[in-house]
């Protein structure tokens, strides 16, 4: 049965994040009432995703290299590493290196429940690896090809790993062709434990309600969302079970696709050991 390989330091896996940095990302994000730009929302989401992944792999003694991570931006300058600071230009980085080298650590305010019926602001540390960029076209096909190159090289050296996961964050419209072809080629790559997983997060300027892990494209609001849905992998059985355990209502054969929703949730479903039910 696929997608059962243990993720460990001796058998690490790989995560590739693709970020749409095209000019249309300058537009406001529909799901955010503050009018935040999509590029800002995506940068925040990716920084949070990296933060959560680092924390997931952190132990008392440091960060365990369960994953190597690539963050590729696509836009005005084609496809390139999106890391800022000390990791700038690097294609694939062990998660310990990611954790130890954010470009900077900002302080941000987070609203939290004061457990007395009110809300208070709390200062939190917010490590930043990725800055918002919104310029040029949307070479998404090239980005998927580049992800394929990164993943192919990884698989050649890690034949028995848990299959690499590619997360593509975009507002939907490729300017360099039909994404289905490179998506198919990417998903055809495999370790002995299964095919590469391609998940898509489609963010939009529309105010359409978030949709998480649908099993059919019928309710998706536009043709770009439907295309990205078709390009996405189905959730493996174990992820589907974990999604259920988290209380999300999903059908029996959902795809790794979310619309105007939070892709950070996906990393909750990466399994590296016991995660208490009362830690959510």
């Amino acid at each position: 049965m696929p997608y059962q390989a243990e993720i460990s330091r001796s058998n690490p896996s790989c995560i590739v994040i693709l970020i749409d940095q095209s000019g249309s990302m300058e537009d406001p994000f529909g799901a955010d009432p503050s009018g935040k730009k999509k590029a800002d929302g995506v940068a925040d989401a990716v920084n949070r995703l990296l933060q959560n992944l680092v924390i997931k792999c952190a132990k008392s003694e440091g960060i365990r290299d369960y994953y190597n991570v690539s963050v590729l931006g696509y836009g005005e300058h084609g496809v390139a590493s999106a890391f800022a600071g000390r990791l700038k230009g690097k294609q694939l980085v062990p998660i310990s290196e990611v954790g130890n080298h954010p470009d900077r650590i900002e302080e941000r305010f987070k609203k939290v429940d004061d457990e007395a019926g009110g809300v208070i602001s709390q200062i939190i540390k917010f490590p930043v690896w990725i800055d918002p960029v919104a310029k040029g076209g949307t070479p998404m096909c090239a980005a998927l090809h580049q992800a394929g190159s990164v993943v192919s090289a990884w698989l050649a050296a890690h034949t028995n790993c848990f299959p690499p996961i590619v997360m593509n964050i975009t507002d939907g419209e490729a300017t360099d062709g039909n994404v289905l072809q490179p998506a198919q080629e990417l998903k055809a790559l495999a370790s002995t434990d299964g095919h590469v997983l391609l998940f898509n997060l489609h963010i939009s300027s529309s105010h359409h309600s978030p949709i998480e892990f649908p099993d059919a494209p019928n309710e998706l609001p536009d043709s770009y969302a439907k295309l990205l849905f078709n390009a996405s992998s189905h959730l493996p059985d174990y992820m589907w079970m974990m999604v259920q355990q988290e209380g999300l209502i999903v059908s029996e054969n959902p795809k790794g696709f979310v619309f105007n929703a939070d892709l950070v949730s996906v990393i909750r479903f990466l399994d590296i050991g016991t995660r208490p039910s009362n830690l959510r």
Partner: protein, 266 residues
Amino acid sequence: MHVTCRTFWLPKGGNTADEYEDAFATHIDATVDLFRCAVSDGATETSFAALWAALLAESYVKADFTLATSQEIWHKHVSALDLNWYAEEKARLGAFAAIVGLTIKSAPSAAQQNGNWECLAVGDCCLFHIRNKQLMHAIPLDDWRKFDSSPFLLSTAPERNKNVADNTVTSTGTWEAGDFFYLMSDAAASWFLRRQAERRDAIKLLSAINSQEMFSALVSRQRAALDGQGRPFLRNDDITVMSVRPFADSSHSKSKRDRPASGNLY
């Protein structure tokens, strides 16, 4: 009352002994002729979990099982460390652990060959009570299919323990001469229940173990053996198996045949 107790443990395959995050503890209270023991299992996805598991096991056997005291010690230790951003954030989320504790009381009189036991369990560490090579009790889980990777566990963060009462299993029973108990962390417990259900020889396999080498060999074999779906029979995780065998004083002195040979469990 006399008790023979032995514990075998191994870290997750690929990890070092320093990275073992289960814990175990025993305590004899001679004044009331009582034996207490516990196995605890720190959750992999949390940090400083080994410390938390050790504190829980110790506090159970010292009959001082107050979460508040253990939480205070844990927080004091962790807050004294100089942590970077991710370690600080991870510590803020708290450590989590499962625990199973067993208290064995002596026979009420020298003429009797039995006594009472009590068990407390939170999470997926398990107690198994064996009599005449039969599994009498399995607490809190009695089916290997009930184990998953997201159990309710005891936390260092008080706000995470709101449902602890609903998730605590307590049980009592009576032991007789010849009975024994196993306390196990989840990987071993799940394997034990499955093996016993499918091949009926888990008790026999474990009772033959009388050295760490034999235990290591059994663990290696079972971690490597795959079921029909390609899953290992024994999940690769920290593993702890504690065996406990009580003897009434009269039986202990009367029958040398009942008494375990040195280094030999059963």
